[in-house]
């Protein structure tokens, strides 16, 4: 078994309005040095696969076809044996 941890964020060229709003909130805490807040998703999967390579391929397909919309989002993931 393998565990995939996927991170999905809006592409850098897209204004992350949610991130902007949260950044304002952080600044009102007095933490004025914080910049470039981007909000994304973290998705964790357990994959039953024969090899790490296969687990990577399955994760990649799930990301491409459903978990991320590459028109607006980037994704990356790590795969570890569990």
């Amino acid at each position: 078994m393998y565990q995939s941890i996927i991170t999905i964020t809006l592409r850098p060229s897209i204004l992350d309005v949610q991130g902007k709003a949260v950044e304002l909130g952080i600044h009102t805490l007095g933490l004025t040095g914080v910049q470039n807040v981007r909000i994304g998703k973290s998705i964790h999967l357990t994959v039953d696969a024969a090899s790490e390579e296969e687990a990577r391929a399955v994760t990649d397909e799930a990301c491409k076809k459903l978990l991320a919309n590459t028109v607006m989002e980037d994704y990356s993931f790590t795969v570890t044996k569990v």
Binding site: I14, V17, Q18, N69, V71
Partner: protein, 238 residues
């Protein structure tokens, strides 16, 4: 299609909430046939026009429209559209059409971060489409919006190509028909409120024409979308 009546198929996903409005507009206001199509049944029941209605299919989980796009009926809708069948997506329906690849681009979170529910004005860009042929170019329609993710976005190349191909049908505008930043309720690129595919048989729009078909609802401008659709079949049949 029977002698003179068109059949509208209104897809019902778990979480659709404008399905009855669309059904009512098609059947009781426009006087045509309408039937609900449950998303689990891969059967369009001979509909001439498919409507993907507004709502919050699958609770908007993951991304708006992302899960609905995999409902069994969507396979049929996609193959119907690829054969030239007429499909319109309103609000959440527009989001589903983008997720399924039938329309280019994507709908992002409104730039205000707020759910926006109000009447807006949209300008008809041209009338050379089956969705706008009952209007005149520049017609200003008063139609409500109700969405949190209506901020149309696509890559600059895609925007250029849909603009050049005349695929942009509606833009948010002010009282004078000017597309201004102040009249843009969600931050959409170029004020885009509705587009069609390059083939001209699939259309998506964020405003709700089905909620603007009777005077008691404050506007009858939405009827023009339905009239255009119906006219396009009549013209084709002649």
């Amino acid at each position: 299609m029977s002698a003179s009546k068109l059949k509208f198929g209104v897809v019902v996903f778990p979480g659709s909430n404008c399905d009855h409005d669309a059904y009512h507009a098609a059947k009781h206001v426009m006087g045509h046939e309408a039937e609900f199509l449950w998303h689990k049944e891969p059967d369009l029941k001979g509909a001439d026009i498919i409507i993907l209605p507004g709502g919050f299919s699958y609770g908007d989980y993951l991304r708006t429209g992302a899960i609905a796009r995999f409902s069994p009926i969507m396979k049929e809708v996609i193959s119907f559209a690829k054969r030239g069948g007429v499909v319109i997506g309103i609000c959440n329906g527009f989001q589903i059409l983008c997720e399924s690849g039938l329309l280019p681009g994507v709908l992002l979170r409104n730039r205000s971060l707020l759910f926006s529910c109000k009447h807006v004005l949209v300008r008809t860009e041209h009338t050379a489409s089956r969705f706008t042929n009952a209007m005149t170019a520049g017609d200003i329609l008063n139609i409500p919006i109700a969405h949190g993710e209506g901020n149309y976005f696509a890559e600059p190349d895609t925007i250029r190509s849909i603009e050049e191909n005349g695929q942009v049908l509606f833009r948010y505008c002010d009282n004078f028909g000017e597309v201004t930043d102040a009249s843009n309720p969600n931050g959409s690129v170029n004020g885009i409120a509705g587009i069609m595919n390059a083939e001209g048989n699939v259309m998506g729009m964020m405003p709700h024409p089905e909620r603007a078909c009777e005077q008691t609802l404050g506007s009858v401008d939405g009827r023009k979308v339905f009239e255009s659709l119906i006219d396009s079949f009549v013209t084709q049949a002649v």
